[in-house]
């Protein structure tokens, strides 16, 4: 039982990170039907910026909590800036191109950003400061869940609630939903669609950066390549839940994270990724538009 709890906890931690990244994929997809393949790179850049900022701040004598706040904030700002620029350069000119074009452009952007960070910084792993302290009071249950895990779960949950509120109750949220329903109609009723799309990229990037900072702090090391695998997994989660659907992304992330943890724990961790992709293929065979995705009514 305890073993099961441990695995569940490890699965939940993964799931909440996947969910934070998957939300970005799914929001963008919902609005412009594009798989932003470079989204994982935004997560990686967020983590790198946080690392650099906290390094500089430590050297200039800042301490503890202020570093966490500042590094997190600047990372989020930069991730948003990268997301915004990414859309402007690589996707906006392809708004009306055939479907394959923006996808290939996105893959290109992903390769570019990875190698940009590799060349600008280093190919090696860098130690990431433990921004989230390991509280002693977690002691009795620490082997099931430590304070970093708890912080990851709580932060992700708060972020997701905030996103829901943003989409449900704010002006920009309404504009996003309108654009998602029907871009032409939204434009006609006076929604600035370009701004909405930019905003979507920015919000998605912010969530990804939060994920990046949390993961960096949790596992203590980052390099230029962490975004790729995390991105692929989060993307898998988004597809699993039905891409374009926000609760779907969270559900997909849960399914994926728990599948990975249980598969690693009860079967073999060497085949972890095989199970992850296996569950994806299985669900897509049974429900081609994902768990919560609506079967798209073909417009003929």
């Amino acid at each position: 039982m305890e073993y099961f709890l441990e695995l569940s906890c490890s699965g939940l931690v993964r799931a909440s990170i996947y969910a934070l990244i998957a939300l970005g994929y799914t929001m963008v997809y919902g609005i412009i039907q594009l798989i932003n393949f470079a989204h994982g790179e935004i997560y990686m850049i967020g983590a790198f910026v946080a690392l650099i900022v906290s390094g500089v701040l430590t050297i200039y004598g800042f301490s503890g909590f202020s570093i966490l706040v500042l590094a997190g904030l600047i990372a989020v700002i930069y991730a948003a800036a990268y997301g915004y620029t990414l859309e402007k350069i690589a996707y906006r000119p392809l708004r009306n191109a055939p479907r394959l074009s923006p996808l290939i452009s996105a893959i290109g952007m992903s390769l570019f950003l990875q190698n940009y960070v590799l060349l600008a910084q280093t190919p090696d792993f860098l130690p990431f400061p433990a921004l989230i302290p390991d509280f002693a009071f977690m002691e009795p249950i620490a082997h099931i869940m430590g304070s970093p895990e708890l912080v990851i779960l709580v932060t992700s949950a708060i972020s997701m609630v905030a996103l829901t509120v943003l989409i449900k109750y704010t002006r920009i949220g309404k504009a996003m939903r309108a654009t998602q329903q029907d871009m032409t109609m939204a434009r006609l009723v006076g929604v600035n669609v370009d701004n909405v799309i930019s905003m979507t990229f920015i919000i998605g990037s912010v969530l990804a950066a939060i994920g990046g900072v949390l993961v960096g702090s949790y596992i203590g090391q980052i390099n230029f390549y962490i975004g790729f695998m995390a991105g692929v997994k989060a993307f898998t989660a988004a597809v699993l839940g039905g891409i374009g659907n926000i609760p779907g992304a969270v559900l997909g992330a849960l399914v994926l994270g728990l599948t990975e943890a249980y598969a690693a724990g009860y079967i073999s961790s060497a085949y972890e990724d095989v199970f992850a992709f296996g569950v994806l293929v299985l669900i897509l065979i049974l429900r081609p538009s994902g768990l919560l995705g609506k079967a798209v009514k073909l417009k003929v």
Partner: protein, 408 residues
């Protein structure tokens, strides 16, 4: 113009901001040292400024072109020149002869190293031609193409190490295994749309690598399979030099073979169905095309070439391990197809040669290789989506002239 410069200055400033933490700052958290690389900031500013101006100019041109195309005033000169040169036997024939001659004498005039990397480049040409069918013609984005390449390579490796099969028996088996895997993997994804296809195929690519890594009894895991024989010639003992030259000619034959076959398929009932599927799946099916068979056909056919190429790859290296079959290889083959021009055979050949040979000759440049690949993919999609050399559709002559006369 002034406006342009003003805008570009703003863009440059934005990029200076954007790249500041990554390009300028480098921290060493252990020794508490910050390295400020201010020079990089200057380079970014200059680079972004220049690129922004070029970008603006290119965008304006693109818009002009689109407008022209809209009112039916197509720019004929550019596409026309290439088309004319391929159609006019006066230009086409001598060029082809020269290419054929250069190809034939190539291994005789250059050294073994050149021949050897040319073999690798030619393997990628075949991979490109194969993926070109799946992605370029049939429009099925496959991000796990390398899996079929691995299937071919490991077919030879395993058959050889367990049963002592030779190269020539393994070659067709490798191709067929590739095609079989293509069909097997194609089945579950038939119903998926393009975007879903991308992630599932990517998953297949990684699954293939993980299985090879973990299943030691068969694939020898990460240790790889060593001492795979080079292609044989009726059992004759060959030195590495002559074996390489021999492999080179073999590859040339295979490329010619691949061109021949893909060309024939392109202009056939099957090829047209592939293209129709790419253009509009619903209409295609409504016109009586069996989607499942057509899609599986495209998958299997693309995978078949990867299988063949894999066998030769194993024979050329004499050693294979899972490291050669990563997502990077899939991405390289995809960028070959994209850069060459989807559906265009000549384009793919040129792109494969350029992309594979450049890093070999410009070794100093190798570090920037993947960066360039990424940038090229983005830029091609924006400014030249038809690739270096656009696919020219065949004209079916015959009765055209007669009927027109009759009409008049």
């Amino acid at each position: 113009m002034v406006d342009n410069v003003k805008q570009s200055v703003l863009v440059a400033l934005w990029f200076v901001f954007l790249t500041f933490p990554l390009m300028v700052v480098k921290v060493n958290t252990l020794n508490n040292i910050v390295e400020w690389r201010w020079m990089n900031m200057l380079w970014v500013a200059i680079g972004a400024f220049v690129l922004s101006i070029v970008w603006r100019w290119a965008m304006a041109r693109r818009q002009l072109k689109n407008k022209k195309a809209e009112i039916g005033e197509e720019e004929l000169t550019q596409a026309g020149l290439w088309q004319r040169s391929t159609e006019d036997p006066k230009i086409f024939k001598p060029v082809l002869t020269v290419i054929a001659l250069v190809t034939l004498v190539f291994p005789l005039v250059v050294d073994i190293y050149q021949t050897n990397i040319m073999v690798l480049a030619l393997i990628f040409v075949v991979l490109g031609l194969g993926l070109n069918v799946t992605v370029g013609l049939a429009g099925l984005l496959d991000l796990g193409y390398v899996a079929f390449f691995a299937v071919g390579a490991y077919t030879y490796g395993v058959l050889n190490s367990f049963f002592g099969f030779g190269f020539w028996i393994s070659l067709p088996i490798g191709g067929l295994m590739g095609a079989l895997f293509g069909i097997a993997l194609g089945f579950p994804i038939l119903r998926l749309r393009g975007d879903y296809l991308a992630i599932v195929t990517l998953g297949f690519g990684s699954i293939a690598k993980i299985v090879i890594e973990n299943w030691e009894e068969v694939f020898n895991g990460a240790k790889g399979i060593a001492n795979i024989p080079r292609p044989g010639f009726f059992g004759a003992e060959m030195s590495i030099t002559s074996a390489t030259v021999y492999t080179y000619y073999l590859m040339i034959l295979m490329v010619v073979f691949a061109i021949f076959i893909t060309n024939r398929l392109k202009d056939s009932r099957i090829g047209r169905a592939w293209m129709a599927l790419r253009e509009d799946e619903i209409a295609c099916v409504a016109m009586g095309v069996d989607m499942a068979r057509t899609k599986l056909g495209a998958y299997a056919f693309g995978a078949f070439w990867a299988g063949l190429a894999g066998v030769i790859f194993a024979a050329r290296n004499t050693y294979i391990n899972p490291n050669s079959f990563t997502f990077m290889e899939s991405a390289i083959v995809l960028s070959i197809v994209v850069m060459g021009g989807m559906g265009s055979i000549v384009g793919v050949i040129i792109a494969a040669l350029v992309l594979i040979l450049t890093p070999e000759y410009l070794r100093a440049f190798a570090e920037y290789r993947m960066l360039m690949f990424g940038a090229v993919m983005v830029l091609m999609m924006i400014f030249r989506p038809e690739g270096l050399i656009a696919n020219v559709r065949r004209k079916y002559a015959g009765r055209k002239v007669v009927t027109e006369d009759a009409n008049v």
